[in-house]
């Protein structure tokens, strides 16, 4: 994109050179020094060629050359006073290079953005006024136009370059996502299937094979979470899908049940629920016995989202909360309650020896 802009500067310079050439060739007989007029035209042509060649590559687009560009334009502009008659100039005759002097302003804008463009325009505008020797209506108009061109072109150049960078980032991101999807398909078709098979058959065999099966099952669910790429999808408007936060908590002893669609919650609420659920599951592992299984149910009734965590371990009878407190269960429950209170929700713990223990977490939507 930068290359195209520099090419546009070169084309502008050539077109304005042609315009200046027409005027100089046509009117040089009326100049005080006709041959000098043609010499200035030759200098302009040569400088046009030099800059077109230099700006074509990134190595030529150096501040020194751009400053020289402005300097040459100023000198050519001021040479009008030496070449043309004072009467012509005072009558408002065009300068020798006419619009050619706007080319270095464009070069400044492309190289330095709005600030560069305005700085270049200010120098050239000062030279335009100096050439005329007075601030007349036409020199003032030319100066303002130069400043506008320098500022506006600089702005759009910067804007365009930023847009290009953003587009490039998006394209890279998309390429990364599709590569990840390709890998996910490959993994799904091979590794995951084998791990699932090992996990299923190993448990049938029992003994040491069952331990291997458990490991394979854990790796399967970890790998599946990794390649399913829930994290790739950016959250929609600060909302998170509670389902994809909780699903990774599932495993050989934990079943997570959710609605089919996304359960969208505000970022903090979703994270608080997920953290509290994780804590409740840790609690099950610690207190409900090594063989206890747990089920996590996510329900969304529109007004609120409820997460229930039930285990089939040895629950405790109601009225024996002191015992539960001694066992440390209530302490953890208090921390869960705190997490939920922060996001306007609440938690309650129910337990009976027959049904195990159930923690219910509820967060209302505003």
């Amino acid at each position: 994109m930068a290359g195209q802009m520099w090419r546009a500067v070169a084309i502008f310079r050539i077109l304005t050179l042609a315009y200046a050439a027409v005027l100089i060739v046509r009117y040089h007989h009326f100049y005080a020094h006709p041959d000098a007029g043609l010499a200035v035209l030759a200098v302009m042509a040569a400088w046009t060629a030099v800059t077109a060649a230099a700006y074509a590559g990134p190595r030529g687009r150096i501040p020194a050359l751009i400053c020289a560009d402005v300097a040459v334009a100023v000198l050519v502009l001021l040479s009008t006073r030496l070449v043309d008659t004072v009467r012509h100039i005072n009558d408002g005759a065009p300068t020798l290079p006419v619009t050619w002097v706007a080319a270095p302003v464009l070069a400044c804008a492309v190289a330095g953005g709005p600030a560069g463009g305005l700085a270049g325009a200010a120098v050239i505008a000062a030279a335009v006024i100096a050439e005329r020797g007075a601030l007349t209506g036409s020199t003032f108009g030319a100066a303002v136009l130069l400043l506008i061109v320098g500022g506006v072109v600089g702005y759009f150049v910067r804007f365009g370059l930023r847009a290009e960078a953003a587009l490039e980032r998006a394209a890279r991101h998309e390429a990364a996502v599709s590569e990840r999807e390709r890998i996910a398909r490959g993994v799904h078709d091979s590794v995951l299937q084998v791990l699932a098979l090992v996990s299923a058959r190993g448990r049938e065999l029992g003994g040491e094979a069952a331990e291997l099966a458990r490991l394979a099952g854990e790796q399967e669910s970890a790998l599946r979470t990794l390649v399913s790429g829930a994290s790739v999808r950016p959250p929609a408007g600060g909302l998170l899908d509670l389902g994809s936060l909780l699903e990774p908590l599932g495993g050989s002893r934990v079943t997570v049940s959710c609605p089919a669609g996304a359960v969208l919650l505000a970022d903090e609420a979703a994270r608080a629920l997920a953290a509290a659920t994780g804590e409740a599951l840790d609690n099950v592992r610690r207190h409900a016995g090594a063989d206890a299984r747990a089920w996590v149910l996510v329900e969304d009734d529109g007004a609120a989202v409820t997460v229930s965590i039930r285990d089939d371990g040895n629950g405790f009878a109601e009225g024996r909360l002191a015992e539960a407190e001694a066992a440390g269960r209530l302490g953890v429950a208090q921390s869960i309650v705190g997490r939920l209170r922060d996001v306007g929700g609440k938690a309650c713990l129910t337990s009976s020896p027959r049904e195990g223990t159930e923690v219910e977490l509820r967060v209302p939507r505003n």
Partner: protein
């Protein structure tokens, strides 16, 4: 052994005989292993297939009672395979196997007419039990499926509240057709039972908690699925009619 029944429900066919199973999975190793295990357990395998089109062809040729269908197929969606299998043989029973993280696919498959759902990491004994139950015409519910079904009823109820055309107010053929498909609802008892299933309780546990017979619990659970399947079918018919009339 893999008998078709211990308590044949209406619609379960060939009671007493072993159910013949078609195993559909795109992974050859999984397919062969499952087929071998089924044969070992005394469950005849009618055939195996690696994609949806092949599954339909093999099903037409071998007429299995039960299809063990992986949802991840290279050509057709699981729901599409199920619709076509049922169109060719309304009595066929389909048990869906799926990896976790494909919740919408599972729900689509179940509403399309599958009678059972297992996660792929289920133990083989569970799979065998599921095939047996499906052959007997029973729905095979897992906690995950109960969660999906609960969510779907809530989604439908929210849609009915939020969409005025569902209330049947506006005139016109299309909205009349839309109003002709009422939104299915869960009874309080059904909701209660489904929530307990989703929280991992077994039918006998639920039965004793709610003071019901296990058979009644089973019926409640099964009804929730049948209502969704009927609704799905009615919607498809409505859609076809709208296309025809449009």
């Amino acid at each position: 052994m893999c008998p078709g029944t211990d308590e044949p429900a209406p619609g379960g066919r060939s009671p007493g005989a072993a159910a013949r199973v078609l195993v559909v999975d795109d992974h050859p190793m999984w397919r062969q292993s499952v087929a071998a295990s089924l044969e070992e357990a005394g469950c005849p395998v009618a055939g195996t297939a690696g994609d949806g089109v092949q599954a339909l062809r093999v099903a037409a040729a071998t007429r299995p009672e039960v299809v063990l269908l992986d949802l991840h197929l290279p050509d057709l969606s699981g729901a599409e395979v199920i619709r076509r299998l049922l169109a060719a043989d309304a009595e066929i029973r389909i048990v869906v196997l799926s990896a976790s993280g494909e919740r919408q696919d599972v729900l689509d498959a179940m509403t399309a007419g599958a009678t059972g759902y297992l996660v792929k990491s289920a133990q083989f004994s569970e799979m065998l039990e599921a095939v047996r139950a499906a052959a007997a015409g029973k729905a095979v519910f897992t906690p995950g499926l109960a969660g999906l079904v609960l969510g779907e009823y809530r989604r439908l109820a929210a849609g009915a509240r939020g969409d005025p055309s569902q209330a049947g107010g506006a005139g016109g053929a299309l909205s009349a057709a839309a109003a002709a498909v009422p939104t299915p609802r869960l009874t309080e008892r059904e909701t209660e039972v489904l929530r307990l299933v989703a929280k991992g309780m077994t039918y006998p546990q639920i039965a004793s908690l709610l003071v019901l017979s296990p058979r009644t619990v089973q019926n409640h659970v099964q009804n929730t699925l049948i209502k969704l399947q009927l609704h799905n079918k009615a919607q498809l018919v409505r859609y076809a009619m709208e296309q025809g009339m449009g």
